[in-house]
Subunit: 390 residues, 2 copies
């Protein structure tokens, strides 16, 4: 067990040890599922962008950073309003250190990445307060299942992360619609978790859709359509398609509970093949409760990458220890996969050092050529391939 120090066992420890043990030394593929929801633009909901309007660019910028080590649709990298950088830095460090193949799937985005991505035909999501959050969920789920089946034939296991600003609020929507007691339990990219605002937002959406909590327990398509987001649709379909033949690490924070709830309703037989993989910052977060959410749905194991930035010389990284950002872009799961793939030759410490190196590279680049500079963050003018989708 070369990964003992690097992986924290949070829930269902024995199953976790057995499942992760099976994966040691075998070959993962990392997938990042992206989406946008207008819900992110409600002031105070999301810190996944310098301003609510700029959250449109965050998913595309995150995956561009994975591909190229720099963003293309924006200058710099996505940051919170306080300038704390995206967890895509962690994910890129993990996939580079472990030489891990990775792919991007879009459930529906406003800004398309300047990078290859798998299109499922979905549209960006509306504000969940309308009660009509996502169009064409069934079709997106079906295509995502097909993609999951293809990838399950190409890898020993899959690690699936996400990037969607506002995603914990839409996750709360799906969880409440499906009857999970989730109030006060979803996490936040902000140090002070705006539970009340999230609940109010979801309740407005449920009212608009004419739904009471729990009404859609057995109808995940309707739940996502009413108060979910396009990432959850694509993510859940992908896991349902992939986990029927290969283990899947669902890599994220409390949003994974919403996806788990949808997967359980779509394809309950695959749940034995599923582990939730997150970060220490989510596992130890006192303002959310991933274990409490998961155990209400299905007792899959929960593990966490033992990432610790407390001794980092870089302010923007030490901020993670104060509860900013916490998780995203599959940061925790990709780190765990890097440890497992290399049988412990890559550690959480190595990932931290690589993140620091990357952080210095992008900030120095800024000071040198006056183009990249953290926490400067700005949408670039659209070129040939750019632009908001309609």
């Amino acid at each position: 067990m070369s990964w003992k120090k690097d992986v924290l066992l949070i829930h269902k420890k024995e199953e976790a040890v057995r499942l992760l043990g099976d994966l040691e030394g075998s070959k993962p593929i990392f997938i990042c599922v992206i989406g946008n929801t207008e819900t992110a633009k409600i002031p105070g909901i999301s810190a996944a962008g310098r301003s609510p309007e700029l959250t449109d660019y965050t998913p595309a910028a995150d995956v561009e950073f994975l591909f190229y080590g720099e963003c293309r649709c924006i200058k710099g990298v996505p940051v919170t309003p306080d300038g704390i950088p995206t967890p895509a830095l962690i994910t890129r460090a993990a996939i580079v250190l472990a030489d891990m193949p990775f792919f991007v799937i879009s459930g529906g985005v406003r800004v398309k990445p300047y990078a290859p991505f798998i299109e499922l035909g979905g549209n960006p999501g509306a504000d969940i307060r309308t009660g009509r959050a996502v169009e064409g969920v069934e079709e997106v789920v079906g295509r995502a299942k097909a993609a999951g089946r293809s990838f399950s034939k190409a890898a020993d296991y899959l690690v699936v992360g996400e990037s969607i600003p506002g995603g914990t609020t839409t996750a709360l929507g799906v969880l409440l619609a499906m009857g999970v007691n989730a109030k006060g339990m979803v996490s936040s990219s902000m140090p002070v978790n705006p539970h009340e605002l999230k609940v109010r937002t979801v309740e407005e959406g449920l009212r608009a859709a004419g739904i009471k909590p729990g009404d859609l327990k057995d109808d995940p398509i309707a739940a996502v359509s009413a108060v979910g987001d396009p990432m959850i649709a694509a993510f859940s379909g992908f896991v349902a398609g992939a986990a029927s033949s290969r283990p899947v690490l669902m890599a994220g924070g409390t949003q994974m509970a919403a996806a788990l709830s949808v997967v359980k309703a779509l394809e309950p037989d695959v749940l034995d093949n599923v582990v939730i993989a997150t970060t220490r910052w989510i596992a130890s977060d006192s303002s959310s409760n991933i274990k409490g959410l998961v155990s209400q749905i299905w007792n899959v194991p929960v593990v966490a990458a033992n990432l610790d930035f407390s001794t980092s010389e870089i302010d923007g990284l030490r901020a993670y220890e104060r509860g900013v950002v916490k998780e995203g872009v599959g940061a925790g799961g990709s780190t765990i996969a890097a440890v497992l793939k290399t049988e412990g030759r890559v550690t959480c410490e190595d990932v931290r050092r690589k993140v620091e190196e990357e952080y210095r590279r992008i900030t120095q680049k800024g000071s040198k050529n006056n183009r990249f500079h953290l926490p400067f963050w700005e949408a670039k003018a659209g070129g040939l391939f750019a632009g908001l989708s309609e």
Copy 2:
């Protein structure tokens, strides 16, 4: 050498034996690169659709058939004007028999598949007679390279096929622009190869672009932009990205020569890792000359799947022996990969039998529910996800 009877050695036999020998028993991923060009709508150019207008649907329908065993954007399956079915039947048989993972990449299509596909941000191609055939080639090539690098980390080798009606004419365009003496040498999906029409079409395009044959020998981006197609852009970029670390079977007919010419100009170092894999129908075609084309560019090995439909009870399949269709959707290369992957447990005979079974299934389905019927072929009205892209 379990594949002796199933793989014909056409060019550079010793290298072919060595390279294929290395691949035996190892794990491929099949990729189908799709695109559209308005060139296909010039009457007499393409038989990859019941009518020139319907060729818009063929690439999407082909890959839908790979995913689902039936098409979604059309009724039935793509057929020639005489009702001979698409080679996607062969490709699906091969990938199903060998349980091969597969993915779709779009270089730029008019009709988007009702299936997952990798988007590179490209647009469908214009009629090459304009001399301005493809926009944004450099960007598409760059993204395709990135996709190729990702896939090369996920497979032991890649098998890359294509579907683009009109593709041999645009291939001729790229070959002539890059100085390959290709007149009278590209193949055709029709039994009588319209060489004169193709040459006239390309020469009109070269004139419009102000180019003489050979002018763009060292500028593949300009050649594809002027008289090429979006499939060649995506295909060549993908091969350039993937073959730097893994072997690649370029799966197709004489269009592969155009892609090879582009790859050679982009990334000559990767050519040792490349084999062209086609069908017996292309290898033995007296109206084209794949060996003559390839040997002008770079002496990569050429091999052919020993597919033989002469004893088939099904008219539409025996037509392949009369020189209709011949190749497409990576039919030859996927068959060879199925043989190699299973170390000869899947043979060309098995693929033929499976094709007959699939053919009967789709035609019976037609007679039963009056929906599928070969050679009936019709564009369906667009639904939520359908439709021509602008």
